[in-house]
Subunit: 342 residues, 2 copies
DNA sequence: TTGTACGCGTTATCAA
DNA sequence: TTGATAACGCGTACAA
C-alpha cells in the first residue's frame, strides 16, 4: 500500500484530482485545466494528464466542483405533469440536447401546483443550476422573484410572450384554439361545445381562442362550455361526453382541450351509438399517441413539443455560455391534423 | 454595509451557516446541529438558531454538505422509460415517500439500453447518492459492479429474486403471465397467441408464464408467438394484430404483453369487424389508463406499481438509515381484472 | 452541551 | 504556460 492509498477515506477510495496530478507529474491546477480544456496548457501535458485520469478511472466530484465554482453542471426543468405525454416528449428532447454537453437534467414535476413549483424552485436553486427551463408564465409571485433574483438563465416553455428580454419557446395556444374552432365552423357546425379539464393556463388560452372565434361568427353560447378542474384522462373524457350531451343534445361538435379527453369521448360515443362525425364532430388537441388509431381517427392539433424541447435547450445553452440569442421568443407553430372525427 | 456583507461573492450574496450562527450568537457547529436536529442542543439555542435561519432565509448549500459528509441527500431512480405510464406511476409514489424525508429524487431514463444505464449509473454515483432504486435485474456486468462497489443501498424494482441479501420489491411476472393464460384456457380457448413488443426482461418472463401454461395443457405452439423488438405503442398493437391474424386466422385468443398493444388491437378489431371476445379474446397487461373504457373493456392484469414505489422507497429509507429490513424481498402480487374482452 | 481545528475535492486568483 | 495559495460552506472528530 502506498502512502497515496486513499482506501478507507470518506470518498470510498476514489481517486482525486490530486492523484491524477501526481501521476502526471503536474500540479492539481494544471491537471484541472487540462481536463476541462480551459486556459492554455501544453498539449503534451494535457495528454499526460488525460492518460493519468484514464488510468486511475478518475471521476470529478460534482460537489467539490459546485462548491468551488458556485455552479453545478445541471439544468432544472419544471413541468406540470408526467402523465401527459406532451411533457415526456419535451423532456426527452431537452435531454438529448443537454446531456451530450455534460449537463445533468433535473426533472421537477409541479403537479400543476403553484406551491409545489415554488418549493421545487427553492430546492433546485439551492443546487445552483447552470440554467432552468420552466413551463408557461403562470406562477406565484414568490416563484417569479426566485427565478428573477437567482440570476440563473431561464427559458420558458410552451407559451409565448412579447415581453422584452424574456426567453421563450412555444406556440400560440390561442391561435391553435381558434384554428380548431374555425375548422369546425368551416365544416358547417353551429352548436360547437368546448370541453376541458385540468384548466391550466394553456387550456384556458385555447378556450379563449374558441370563444373569440365563435363570438366573431355570432355563434358563441357560454352554456356550451364544460370545464372540469379534475385531472385530464380518457375516463374523464367519457364521463364529460355523457354530461355534455345530457345538457346539450342539440350540440353538433365538441372541441376537447386534450386528446385523452377526446379519446375517451370517442369510446363513449361508440358505446352510446352516437355516429361520429355525422351526428357529432369531435376534435382534440396535442395529437397524442394513439389518436391516429381511434375509431374514427381523431382530428386534432399537432404540437411540436420535441421541437420546443430541442429549441429551448439550444437557446439555454447559448445563454449559459454567456451569449446572446438571435430571437428571444421562438414560435414553433402548430398543425391542424384533419382526420375522420371532424 | 457591514463587514459581514457577502454580496458580490461567488455565492450570490446568499447567507451561510456562519451568518446564522453569528446572528444566533453560537458557533457554526451548534447552528449546524440545531438545524439538522442531531446531537444534544439546548432547546433555547435551537429556537434562536431556527429564528436566525428563518430571518436570513438561510438555505443550506447541498454541495458543501455533500463535500463535507461524502453523501448527498439524493436518491437515484433508474427506469427504462417514461412513455410507459407504469414507471411514471412508480416514480410518483417514490417521490411521495422520499421528498418529505428531505431526499431529492433523481430520475434516470435508461431507454431500455444497457449502455445508457451504465452511463447513468456512473453519473449518478459520482454524486454520492444516499440510495438507489433500479428497475429489474438485467444489466451489464459493468453496471452490476458499479452498484456493488459503490456500497450505496439499492432496492430493485418490479421483479423478484430469491438471491439472499438482495433487496427487491415487485411481483412474479411469470406467475402473472400464467394467470392470464390460464384464464384464457378456462374460457375455453385453444389457439392462444402471445404478442409482445419491447422484449425487456419482464415481458419475456410473462412469455415464459404463457409458454409453461400452454405446455402444461398440451396447447403450446411456438408459431403463435409474435415478438417485436420495437417500442410498444397503440399503433404497433394495431399493426401486430393484423400481422398475427394474417398468419393465424384460426387463433381464438391473444395475450398482449402490455395494454397499449392490446388497446391498439381492440381498435383495429373494431375497424376490421372482428368481434371481441366472441371471435377472438384479447387480454392485456398492466391495466393502463383507459383500458376500462375501451370497446369492449379490456381484460388485463393490474400491477400495483404505486405500491411497488411506496414499498421500495420505504425499504430504502430504512437501509439508508443503516437499519435492517424485515423482509428483503417483497412480493406485491397482481390482480387479474376480468372485463369484457376475455 | 458547546466549541475548535481541520479536511472534503475542486477552482479562482494572482504570482512566477 | 504553470503553480502556490486561498477560499467555497459545511460536517467529522475530538477537546473542553
Amino acid at each position: 500500500m502506498s502512502s497515496n492509498d486513499r482506501a478507507g477515506r470518506a470518498g470510498g477510495g476514489r481517486h482525486t484530482l490530486q492523484d491524477v496530478a501526481a501521476m502526471a507529474g503536474v500540479s492539481p491546477m494544471t491537471a484541472s485545466r487540462a481536463l476541462r480544456g480551459v486556459g492554455r496548457v501544453d498539449p503534451a501535458l494535457v495528454e499526460r494528464v488525460r492518460a493519468a485520469a484514464a488510468a486511475l478511472h478518475y471521476v470529478p466530484d460534482p460537489a467539490a466542483r459546485a462548491l468551488a465554482s458556485a455552479r453545478s453542471a445541471s439544468v432544472a426543468v419544471l413541468v406540470p405533469s408526467l402523465a401527459n405525454t406532451v411533457f415526456v416528449d419535451l423532456l426527452e428532447a431537452v435531454h438529448e440536447v443537454l446531456a451530450p454537453e455534460g449537463y445533468q437534467v433535473l426533472i421537477g414535476n409541479t403537479h400543476y401546483s403553484r406551491d409545489e413549483e415554488e418549493q421545487l424552485l427553492r430546492n433546485y436553486l439551492a443546487h445552483r443550476p447552470s440554467g432552468m427551463l420552466v413551463t408557461g408564465f403562470e406562477r406565484n409571485e414568490a416563484a417569479r422573484r426566485l427565478i428573477e433574483a437567482s440570476g440563473v438563465p431561464c427559458v420558458y416553455l410552451m407559451e409565448l410572450t412579447s415581453a422584452p428580454g424574456v426567453h421563450c419557446v412555444g406556440l400560440s395556444q390561442l391561435a391553435a384554439g381558434q384554428a380548431v374552432t374555425e375548422h369546425l365552423l368551416a365544416r358547417g357546425r353551429r352548436r360547437i361545445g368546448f370541453v376541458a379539464a385540468q384548466l391550466d393556463a394553456r387550456t384556458m388560452q385555447r378556450a379563449e381562442g374558441y370563444r373569440r372565434t365563435l363570438q366573431g361568427a355570432g355563434r358563441y353560447d357560454p352554456a356550451l362550455e364544460l370545464l372540469s378542474p379534475a385531472r385530464s384522462s380518457i375516463r374523464l373524457g367519457a364521463t364529460l361526453l355523457k354530461d355534455f350531451l345530457a345538457r346539450h343534445p342539440d350540440a353538433d361538435a365538441i372541441f376537447f382541450c386534450n386528446d385523452d379527453l377526446a379519446q375517451g369521448a370517442l369510446l363513449e360515443a361508440l358505446r352510446l351509438g352516437i355516429r361520429i362525425p355525422e351526428q357529432l364532430m369531435v376534435a382534440g388537441f396535442n395529437d397524442l399517441e394513439g389518436s391516429d388509431c381511434f375509431v374514427p381517427r381523431l382530428t386534432t392539433v399537432r404540437t411540436p413539443r420535441a421541437e420546443i424541447g430541442r429549441c429551448a435547450a439550444t437557446m439555454l445553452l447559448q445563454l449559459m455560455r454567456g451569449g446572446r440569442v438571435a430571437q428571444s421568443a421562438v414560435d414553433v407553430g402548430f398543425e391542424l391534423v384533419v382526420r375522420e372525427s371532424a
